[in-house]
């Protein structure tokens, strides 16, 4: 159907009226443009870790608060809400670094979490290795004929023995006193005891705890060699160390 001119006219007028009416709601004079808002304050930020000291494997909670920031991020985590908390489980001591930004500026905050490593469990007693170590590092002391005094030479041997024993504080041992085949069974038992005891006392004064060692005498009952020669006799006059644990 052909739209008549008059119809057009009526629509235009209506449109104009609508437009005019809406545009003319406020009958006030057009306001001046609002002044630009004052610049935002620089952001504030705080970051804490609670607790701030943990042992490896444990968790801690990071808590942060910022004001006026439009962009907040924490290193290693990424963008975060302006305020919030997050549980973290650092494997080693870490300083968490938060950056809060807005158009005005940037504010940083840090929180340090100290992570202590746990005491490593004691290595299972690898007895064979430890016993071998003991045998090659703790040397016997030898005595003069009918004597139970530690000579200068063996004082030095005992110093080295004591060093090893201090480095391996868990080792316990026995000191056996021995004698050469000359002389009488019973007197040699007593002499052997005196030799074992002298060795023990020397180690105690070098700092080794007395309750790490037992003493026993074997007199001439368990010789290391059986020839009736000076050199074999010298071999048998000894304080002999035996690894216990």
């Amino acid at each position: 159907m052909k739209i008549t001119r008059s119809q057009w006219t009526r629509v235009a007028v209506a449109l104009a009226v609508v437009l005019t009416v809406s545009a003319c709601k406020k009958k006030t004079a057009p306001a001046p443009p609002p002044p630009p808002p004052p610049p935002a304050p620089a952001p504030t930020a705080s970051l804490t870790a609670n607790p701030n000291s943990i042992t490896a494997g444990q968790s801690t909670t990071l808590i942060w608060r910022t004001d006026f920031a439009t962009d907040v991020s924490i290193d290693g985590i990424g963008k975060v809400d302006p305020s919030g908390s997050r549980t973290v489980t650092p494997a080693e001591s870490t300083t968490y670094h938060l950056v809060a930004r807005n158009d005005t500026g940037t504010q940083e905050a840090t929180a340090r979490v100290t992570v202590t490593q746990p005491t490593p469990p004691p290595p299972p007693p690898n007895n064979e290795t430890e016993a071998q170590l003991f045998a090659s590092n703790v040397q016997d002391v030898f005595f003069e004929y009918d004597s139970y005094d530690i000579t200068q030479q063996y004082q030095q041997v005992l110093q080295r023995d004591a060093q090893f024993l201090q480095q391996h504080p868990n080792i316990q041992f026995t000191i056996e006193g021995h004698c050469d085949e000359r002389g009488s069974t019973e007197y040699n038992l007593a002499l052997g005891d005196n030799r074992a005891n002298a060795t023990k006392q020397a180690l105690v004064s070098l700092g080794i705890s007395a309750n790490r060692m037992r003493t026993i005498s074997y007199g001439k009952e368990k010789p290391f060699c059986t020839q009736s020669t000076e050199s074999c006799w010298a071999q048998n006059r000894r304080g002999h160390f035996v690894y216990q644990r």
């Binding site: 004929y145 009918d146 139970y148 000359r182 002389g183 009488s184 069974t185 019973e186 007197y187 038992l189 007593a190 002499l191 005891d193 005196n194 005891n197 023990k200 006392q201 037992r214 003493t215 026993i216 005498s217 009952e221 000076e230």
Partner: protein
């Protein structure tokens, strides 16, 4: 000239005297002259091999007991008259009392086996008293075993020895305890005083040393290696097993009984250095007697008084023998040199037997010999002279014999001898044997 001669004579006498001192010729019967005794085989009065065997065991044992008693001069077999008496009516006294037998005393008798029993009749006759010659008349009956033939022989021999030996009981039924290695480990063993019936007591399978039997023959104290080091252990001869005795810290060894059975002395390193301690027979009331860094070991009690202890101490260097009161006071040094160990106090309280290397030093171990020292005077005599190693003397209850260990055959064995050093006899042959201890009775 006369003066020179006198001096020469003096020197000759002096040297003779000095060398005589090294070999003691008296001291066994304590001055009693040896009695000439004839002890022919007892007559076998029942036929058969069983009686024959038992008679042989009896005769060998009986004659040996008398011969080794130390107070008789035995009439040798070759001097026995041809007919051997089995009963009083068969004795022709003057056959025995005149040469060649020339006996002062005659022991004779007979053996029969009846109803599974061995019956022995024995007499002791004084050959010089034809009026009433009988000194002893005895009768024995036991189950017919070899062990009982031996037992009867011991008993009758002891009767004769007691009667003719000044009232000192015989030792034919006494025992010797010792250490033997023959089972593979050092254990405590027992044997009759003549070496018969050797048997193993302990089965520690460790190291057992220094046996000392109690005066009542109920227990043997000894030292053994246990999980807690050396300990004084008790073997009950009645129960045939170990019985409890307190354990002490450190090493504990060389136990010795007082003769009244009330106390033991021993050496202990419980404070670090060895010291002599006494303890009651039950193991209580521990008391320390010695002090000092040096070794103290091998105590032995005066069996006459139970109030003194002799022991070995290294307080001057090489071991020496000392005595002290049983509370540790009044220490007296007995030996003056060398290496002296293993004291044993005689039953009459007068002597110490011990092992001594008089001249000792490194590189020259020297011989170790058994010596006897008179305690009051400290005068000593040397009993063994074989140049080997002799040690651990122990007195017999009659004070006439000493048992000891010797390596003179090449291996350590147990030997006995009279207390004057004469008549050495080897008791053991198997394995290595040492540290003998003669029972108190």
């Amino acid at each position: 000239m006369k003066r020179t001669l006198t001096l020469l004579l003096f020197f000759l006498l002096a040297t003779t005297f000095l060398s005589a001192q090294d070999w003691i010729h008296t001291g066994t019967g304590l001055g009693v002259e040896k009695i000439r005794l004839a002890a022919p085989d007892f007559k076998q009065v029942t036929p058969g091999t069983e009686t024959q065997n038992l008679a042989m065991t009896f005769n060998v044992t009986f004659q040996n007991d008398l011969a080794s008693a130390g107070i008789f001069e035995m009439v040798s077999r070759s001097f026995w008259p041809l007919s051997v008496p089995g009963a009083p009516q068969e004795v022709v006294l003057n056959e025995w009392g005149s040469p060649p037998p020339n006996a002062s005393m005659l022991a004779f008798g007979n053996i029969a086996v009846q109803d599974a029993n061995i019956n022995v009749q024995g007499w002791l006759y004084d050959t010089k008293n034809s009026q009433s010659p009988q000194v002893l008349g005895k009768q024995y009956r036991e189950q017919a075993t070899d062990a009982n033939a031996r037992l009867i022989a011991h008993r009758f021999a002891d009767e004769i020895i007691f009667r003719l030996g000044g009232g000192v009981p015989g030792i034919a039924e006494s025992k010797i305890y010792f250490v033997s290695h023959r089972s593979g480990a050092k254990e405590i063993w027992e044997m009759d005083y003549d070496g018969a019936n050797q048997k193993q007591l302990t089965h520690l399978d460790s190291i057992a040393l220094s046996p000392h039997v109690s005066p009542d023959n109920s227990r043997v104290a000894f030292s053994g290696v246990t999980k807690e080091g050396w300990q004084i252990l008790m073997y009950s001869l009645e129960l045939n097993r170990l019985v409890t005795f307190p354990r002490f810290s450190g090493d504990n060894y060389s136990p010795a009984w007082s003769a009244d059975g009330q106390n033991l002395a021993f050496s202990s390193s419980r404070t670090g250095n060895t010291e002599i301690y006494t303890v009651s027979a039950a193991g209580g009331n521990l008391k320390r007697l010695t002090e000092g860094r040096h070794p103290d070991v091998s105590p032995t009690w005066n069996p006459k008084t139970n109030a003194q202890i002799a022991w070995v101490s290294g307080r001057t260097g090489l071991p020496q023998i000392y005595t002290m009161a049983s509370d540790g006071t009044n220490v007296v040094r007995m030996t003056d040199q060398g290496y002296a160990v293993s004291p044993s106090w005689s039953p009459n309280g007068q002597f110490l037997a011990f092992a001594w290397v008089r001249h000792y030093g490194p590189g020259a171990p020297g011989a170790s010999d058994i010596y006897v020292m008179d305690i009051a005077s400290k005068q000593w005599v040397q009993l063994t002279h074989d140049g080997g190693r002799n040690d651990f003397p122990s007195w017999s209850p009659d004070g006439r014999h000493i048992v000891f260990q010797s390596n003179r055959t090449g291996k350590l064995q147990i030997w006995t001898m009279l207390a004057d050093g004469s008549e050495p006899r080897q008791l053991t042959t198997q394995g290595e044997n040492s540290q003998p201890n003669w029972s108190f009775k």
